[in-house]
């Protein structure tokens, strides 16, 4: 399956779409860093876990959309026409699906790295800062649930109806506009702007209230279950 992963990565990443999307993604990120992160979120440093988390929250919808756009490589009409050939092969559908999933994760991982790399460059250039280990916690809090839910949900829905992937893609843009309960604050960025103010200290270290941690855990879990559900039965193939 290594060869499948290699070729799927080649299909997903080595094309105009990826580089075009990367360009749009980095441009958007730079604007967010310059206008929203640099002044500092909740009175903290622009390089605090809170400001960085806010940046990641802003980028999350694009990361989400990017991951699902990769998925459309397997659910599009064109891809389904090719699936008549691959379906006739003796490859284990689950392993094949996992190989494709690994390719999507590679693409999403590259986007994530680009997002982190851009922040690194920004911090280096504007505030001459580079203690990355402090930002690991917000990155792990924001990114894995987003990627898991996007991929798991997308994979599951894409199996049912390919167009559901497009609806799933629009979800984060919708929740950015809607008032969400505080437990879901990470998903519209309000958590990073509001929660540190309630901690009663300056430059508080990164921490999560139970409800938010549970919500992130639930997102991760739901994503995981949806992902597992997609491969359970005989339908891992084709996304």
């Amino acid at each position: 399956m290594k060869r499948i992963v290699k070729y799927e990565c080649r299909r997903l990443i080595w094309n105009r779409f990826f580089f075009g999307f990367l360009g749009i993604f980095l441009f958007y990120g730079w604007q967010v860093l310059k206008h929203e992160v640099l002044p500092g979120v909740a009175g903290t440093a622009p390089f605090s876990p809170w400001s960085f988390g806010s940046y990641l929250s802003r980028m999350a919808p694009f990361l989400w959309a990017g991951t699902l756009l990769f998925l459309t490589f397997f659910t599009s009409r064109k891809a389904r026409r090719a699936a008549v050939l691959t379906d006739a092969s003796p490859a284990d559908p689950r392993r094949y699906g996992l190989a494709r999933c690994a390719a999507v994760l590679t693409g999403a991982g590259l986007l994530t790295l680009a997002c982190l790399g851009e922040a690194a460059f920004f911090y280096g250039r504007y505030v001459h800062w580079g203690h990355w280990e402090t930002l690991l916690a917000p990155a792990l809090t924001v990114l894995p649930p987003v990627l898991a839910l996007a991929l798991g949900g997308g994979w599951f829905l894409g199996r049912l109806r390919p167009w559901l992937v497009v609806l799933w893609m629009a979800l984060p843009f919708l929740w950015m506009a809607l008032p969400l309960p505080s437990a879901l604050g990470i998903w519209n960025g309000s958590f990073f702007a509001e929660y540190p103010l309630t901690l009663g200290s300056l430059d508080p270290g990164f921490s999560l209230p139970g409800a938010v941690a549970a919500a992130q855990g639930a997102a991760l879990g739901v994503g995981g279950i949806a992902f597992w559900g997609s491969f359970w039965g005989n339908a891992g193939r084709g996304g």
Partner: protein, 286 residues
């Protein structure tokens, strides 16, 4: 390899019955031609045999065991070319075949790819991106992927569509060679292809088998039912079904099939096409 199809019916979710009570035995080595008008159920049968569909009722056995239990075994022995398929346009021909080789679990993929590229005459396009290929070349990539790994069962649905006459002859011969020691199922509209290479013929009509046997038997069955005549001799709404018209200096010369040839028609030696048309026209008349 042997398929045993017993009383298989296939009804789609929309209620359309594609196959009804079909029974058939297919065994290797053989190059079996599958003929039939549009909507006869050819593609459905092919999809059933490639385990892409499960029958609504009846049993398909592969080497004595139900096919649904042997799906993986079937697929590991199958080379399949559907009528409509897509390719990964982003990859080169070689990369795509390497991808399919990986899916088929072929270990020495380089040699296998080189061999099929040679078979389908695409060596020069090996490094070309698939999106740059012509329709005929794409079709040949489809055939190549079906041939990968020397499969024991080759199912080809309209494989020569989009190929020029020379290529058609080439592939016809290729399939014939391939069928020497395996089972090749060839579905086509081009009767010429079937006539020249198939040792076994199945004619489907409205989901049932009209004929199954050697092509010669079909031809024999049409003997005395094929005739030629001058158009001016024939009355309007005559009993003969015209299968060909040729303009000559003396007038229009017609070829036709009929249950009983009229007096103005001179009997002719039937071809496979005549026999097929006779079979279908008889069925339609019924």
């Amino acid at each position: 390899m042997e398929f045993h199809i017993q009383d298989v019916t296939m009804t789609y979710p929309n209620g359309k019955q594609a196959l009804g009570g079909l029974s058939l035995r297919l065994g290797s080595p053989s190059l079996t031609g599958l003929l039939g008008p549009n909507g006869a159920g050819k593609s459905t049968l092919i999809r059933l045999l490639s385990a892409a569909l499960m029958p609504s009722s009846g049993v398909i056995q592969l080497d004595g065991a139900p096919l649904k239990d042997r799906e993986m075994e079937l697929k590991s022995r199958l080379g399949y070319l559907p009528q409509e398929f897509g390719l990964f346009d982003e990859l080169t021909v070689w990369q795509f075949l390497d991808y399919m080789a990986a899916l088929k679990g072929i270990r020495d993929s380089r040699a296998a790819i080189r061999q099929v590229l040679q078979d389908v005459r695409l060596e020069e396009q090996a490094k070309a991106r698939i999106r740059t290929l012509s329709g005929g070349q794409r079709q040949r990539v489809g055939i190549a992927q079906a041939l990968l790994g020397d499969p024991e069962l080759l199912i080809l649905d309209e494989p020569t569509v989009g190929l020029d006459p020379e290529e058609r002859i080439h592939f016809r011969n290729l399939f014939s060679r391939t069928a020497q020691n395996r089972l090749v199922l060839l579905s086509t509209h081009i009767i010429e292809d079937v006539q020249s290479v198939c040792d076994h013929l199945i004619v489907l009509h409205r989901g049932t088998i009209l004929f199954s046997g050697a092509p010669e038997r079909l031809i024999q069955a049409a003997a005395g039912h094929v005739g030629v005549f001058w158009e001016q001799d024939a009355p309007e709404n005559g009993e003969i079904s015209v299968t060909a018209r040729v303009h000559t200096a003396c007038g229009v010369r017609c070829r036709g099939v009929a249950g009983v040839l009229p007096s103005y028609a001179r009997p002719e030696e039937p071809t496979l096409e005549d026999a097929y048309l006779y079979l279908i026209s008889r069925e339609v008349a019924r």
